[in-house]
Assembly symmetry: none
Homo-oligomer: 207 residues x 4
DNA sequence: AATGAATGAGATTTCATTCAT
DNA sequence: TATGAATGAAATCTCATTCAT
C-alpha cells in the first residue's frame, strides 16, 4: 500500500532534493556559518527566496541535510548488522563499513561533530538537538543489540552493550578524524583491522 | 634575587590572564563564532579596543585561550604518566584522569572538537592548525611511549603504539561527549572502568 | 521598436543613478574619507546594505561617480572642439567652457585633485588609477589635436601639443581652484579672457 | 639682537623638529588620513602620547609640518626674485626653481593639493585654512610684484599681475603633478623651458 | 616632560530574512 | 510558486585622544 504522490508533489520533492544536494556541498566545504544562502541558492539554481518555501530557515536546511545523511548511513549499517554471521565477524565488518563511510564522507562527519553542539546554543537549538538524538540513539541501539547477541551466544564478555556500541562508534569516528586532521591519507583497512583487534582482544597479554 | 619581570610586565600578564579567563567562559558557552568581543570585553571588564592591545584579533584570542587549556591538560597527564607503576595500572589511572578532565572541562573539549577543523577553513586557518597540531602530537606521543614501555615489559601485545594512544584519547573523549550530548550526568568512574576493561581485555571471550 | 532594457533593468539603472547622485553630493561636501555610507544611504533614501547591491564597496561607488562626471565633462568639451572655427577661436571657447564647467562643479574638481592620488595609496589603488588615467589621457589628446591643427594651419607656433594641452587644463583648473580657495566669487569670463590672452600672446612685449 | 633660547628650549625645539621630520615622511607616504600617529611616533622614536606635548592634535601636526615646508619653499623663491636681472630672465629662473622644488618635493606638493581643502571640512577646518592662506598670498604677492616691475619696465604687457602670478604657479604645479601621475620621470628643465616660452610668447603666431 | 595602556566612538561590510510582484 | 531587491542588525577592527604614573 504505497503512498502515491501527485505529480506536483513529486516535482516538489525532487526540487527539495536538489536543494539538499547543493546544501550538502556548500556546507561541507564551508561549515554552517561560513556557508551563505546565496551560494547554496546559486548552486541549486534557485533564487535565494525560493529556499524559504522549502525550508524554514538556514538551520532547518542544515539539519534537514544532515538528517538525510545520517539516515543513509544508518541504512548502510543495517545491511551489515542483519547478515547471518558470527557476532565477532559482523563486528569486524561493521567497523570496516563505518571506517569506509567516515572516510568517504569525512567532510560531513567533521561537520557533524563540529556543529552539532554549536547548534545547541543557537536559536532554537533544543529543537535541533531533539531532531538529532533519536537518530543517534537508534544507531547506537542497533549496534548494542549486536553486542547483546554476542553475549547471549557466549562470544563476548558480559560487557555493557550500550557503552560498547558507543565505543565502537567513537573509535571509528575518532580514528577517521585524527587521520583527517593530520592530513594523512586514511588507511581505512589498516585502521579497521587495528580497531577490530583492539575491540576483540584488548591490549593486555594477561600476564 | 632578580625580578624576572618588571612590575609593569607582571601586571600586563595578569590582565592578559583575566582576558583569557573571560574569553574561556564566553567561548565555551557560545562557540567561536557566536561569541562576541563585546561580551568578552564586558566580562573581562575592559573596553573592546583594549583586547586588541593584547591579542591580534578574535581568532588569536580564541586560539591563545585553547592553547593554554591544552597545556594545562597536558601537565595533568604528565603527572600520571610519570608514576612508577605497572603500565596497565598507569593506563587505568590515565583513563580516569582523562575522563575527569573531560568531565570538568566538557565545555572546552566540545569547543575543541567543534572549532578545531572549523578554524582550518577560516582566514589564516593554516596557522591555527599549525599552532594546535604540535600540542596534540606531543600528547599522543606521551601516551604512545607508555604503550611502548608496556610492550617492552611484556604487559601489552605488540600493538601499534600511536594508534593505541589515539584510541585511548578517542574512547575517553567520545564517551564524555556522548554523555554530555545525551545530557546524562556523566558517571566518570563507571566510564573509566569500562574503557579500561575494554582496552585491556577487549570484548571477545576467545571461544 | 525593441525595448533595449526590460522595465526591471531600467528601474535598476534609475535607482543606480539616484545613488550616484546622492553620493556626488555627499562626497563633494565631505571628501572620500569623511563621507559615510550612512549619510549617502540616507540621502539616497535606501538602506545602507542596498548600496552594496549596486556597488562593490565605498571606493567603487566613489570612482563610479567620478567616472560619470569625467565622461560628462568630456562630452561638453567635445562639442566645442568639433566646431568649425579658427583654432584660436576654438581655444578661446574651450577655455571658457572649461572655466564654466570647473566653476559649476568646483566641489567635484576639488575632489578629483584631492583624492585622485590619495586613491593610489589605498587598497586596490592601482585599479583606481587604471580606471582614471585613460579618461584624462583622452581628454588631453583631444585638446592636443586641436593644437596640432593650429600648428598645421600656421596659427600656432611649433609648440609641444601635449604639453600645451596640459597647460590649458592646468591654467583653467588652477584658476578655478585658486578662486575657490580664496573664497572669491569666481569671475569665470574674466578668468577665461585672461587665460586665453596669456595662452595666445604670452606676457612678453618682445622689446 | 638675536633671541637666545635656553638649553631646555633649544632641546625642545630640536625634538619638535625631529617629530616634524618623521611626520613629513609618513604623511607624504600615506596621506593625512591613512597616516597613523603610531607610525609617526615610532619613526620619531617617541611615545605616542609625547606627540601631544608638542602638537595639539593630528591636524595641528600635519599643518605645522606643511607650514614649515611652505616657508622653506618661499625662502628659495625669494632668493631668485631678489636677483638683479631683467624681469623675463628672473621669471625664467623662477620657473626653473619652482619646477625643481616641486620635483624634489612632489610627495608634499601632492599632499598640499590633496588635503588642503579636505582640511576645510574637518573639525576646525577654518582655522587650518586661515593658517595656510597667508602663506600662499605672500608667495603670490612676491611673484606679482615681479610682474608689476616687468610692466613698469615695459618688458611685459599690461597684464593682471596677480592672475599672472597665479598662472605661473599653476603651470609649474600642474606640470609636475601631471608628470607624477603619469609616472613619467619629470624632465624638469624641459618642462621649465616650455612653460617659460609659453608664458613669455604665448602660442599664437600673430597671423 | 615622557610614557603607553586604555578607551570607545565610529566605519565598513555581510547576510539571513522579508515581501511585493 | 518563484523571484531577487531591499533591509538593517550586528560584528569586527581602527585609532585619535586621554590620563595615571
Amino acid at each position: 500500500m504505497t503512498e502515491l504522490l501527485s505529480r506536483k508533489d513529486r516535482e516538489r520533492q525532487a526540487k527539495r532534493q536538489d536543494i539538499l544536494k547543493a546544501a550538502r556541498v556548500v556546507f561541507a566545504e564551508k561549515g554552517l556559518h561560513a556557508a551563505t544562502l546565496d551560494e547554496i541558492a546559486e548552486k541549486a539554481e534557485f533564487a535565494k527566496g525560493t529556499l524559504y518555501t522549502y525550508f524554514e530557515n538556514k538551520e532547518d536546511l542544515f539539519v534537514s541535510m544532515l538528517e538525510q545523511e545520517i539516515l543513509d548511513f544508518h541504512e548502510e549499517l543495517k545491511l551489515v548488522l542483519s547478515r547471518d554471521l558470527p557476532p565477532a565477524e559482523i563486528l569486524s565488518q561493521l567497523v570496516r563499513a563505518m571506517m569506509t563511510a567516515f572516510d568517504q564522507n569525512m567532510d560531513l562527519m567533521r561537520l557533524l561533530s563540529q556543529e552539532r553542539s554549536a547548534l545547541a546554543t543557537c536559536r532554537g537549538g533544543d529543537q535541533m538537538e531533539a531532531r538529532f538524538l533519536p537518530h543517534f540513539h537508534r544507531l547506537n541501539a542497533a549496534v548494542a543489540s549486536l553486542v547483546r547477541r554476542g553475549i547471549a551466544q557466549g562470544a563476548f564478555h558480559r560487557i555493557d552493550p550500550e557503552r560498547t556500541a558507543t565505543a565502537v562508534f567513537n573509535l571509528c569516528h575518532g580514528a577517521a578524524m585524527s587521520s583527517y586532521l593530520n592530513s594523512k591519507k586514511v588507511d581505512s583497512p589498516g585502521e579497521a583491522a587495528f580497531i577490530t583487534a583492539l575491540l576483540l582482544q584488548g591490549i593486555a597479554t594477561g600476564r
